[in-house]
Amino acid sequence: MKFGIVTFPGSNCDYDAYRAVIDGLGEEAVFLWHKDHDLQQSDVIVLPGGFSYGDYLRPGAIARFSPVMQDVVAFARRGGPVVAICNGFQIACEAGLLPGALLRNASLKFVCEVVHLRVETTDTMFTNRYERGSVLRIPIAHGDGRYTADPETLNRLESEGRVVFRYVGGPGDADEWWSPNGSMRAIAGIVNEEGNVLGLMPHPERAIDPLLGSADGLGLFESVLARITV
């Protein structure tokens, strides 16, 4: 299976995603240049983290006008799987692939640490290899991660089982919501209505090897692989 990883000017997690696919998953990965209209027959698209276009105007606001994004949006509308991580999540929201917006962290500080994420649903193509309610250790690194949407949207996300990951206190208090960035309802990751676009602020691609502190992110890539190859 081929993962296409988009490189925008200012992306800085594209290589991490590439290594996660190649080393962690043992599958094929290619970089997709933001100026090309070519997804190179990728089966899965990754919108990686970083600071595309210097976060000018708002994070993700300019990247969504990159030529490649037209193809990514069309791919997503056809049901193609898209994993939008961190800045990728911001881009996906700006592009209208996901509802809501990511605002400046409530603390006004850039947060860079390992957090605990609870898997809220395993009924997605991104989480079928996890156990529902299990707690993952995954790093975050962002200044604008405060998930915000109107109450109707939040209720809908919850009632349709589209909140995929929540920030929680830890394995001992997995029921305790805790937002490192002030996210509404401690939301860390969501899927679109059709379930083929995942957006999350934490970095699963940085958690694929115990040597680096955690391999809990690998399950996400394995889940996509399981779904696509079945």
Partner: protein, 85 residues
């Protein structure tokens, strides 16, 4: 065609947590401006454009705000001034 200079004001939508505004308000209190009730920090954007007349200039700026300059989910915008230059 005339050239217009249009100032747009973009602010976080009321009711959405504005930590930056809150922090600035606290700093103003520290400085002794006890009367400050609330502060909102937004963006000020100046667009210069060519248009046949004022309403067209204003209308196209409004569209720019809706499609790019402001985030419709979290921000409000206001066209502050339209000047012929």
């Amino acid at each position: 065609m005339s050239r217009y200079r249009i100032a747009v004001h973009i602010t976080p939508r009321r009711g959405i947590l504005d930590p930056q505004g809150k922090t600035v308000a606290e700093a103003l209190h520290t400085l002794g401006f006890a009367s400050v009730r609330d502060v909102h920090v937004g963006r000020h954007i100046v667009v210069e454009l060519d248009a046949p007349d004022r309403p067209v200039a204003e209308q196209s700026t409004r569209e720019m705000c809706e499609r790019l300059l402001a985030n419709p989910v979290t921000e409000d915008f206001e066209i502050e001034s339209v000047e012929a230059t």
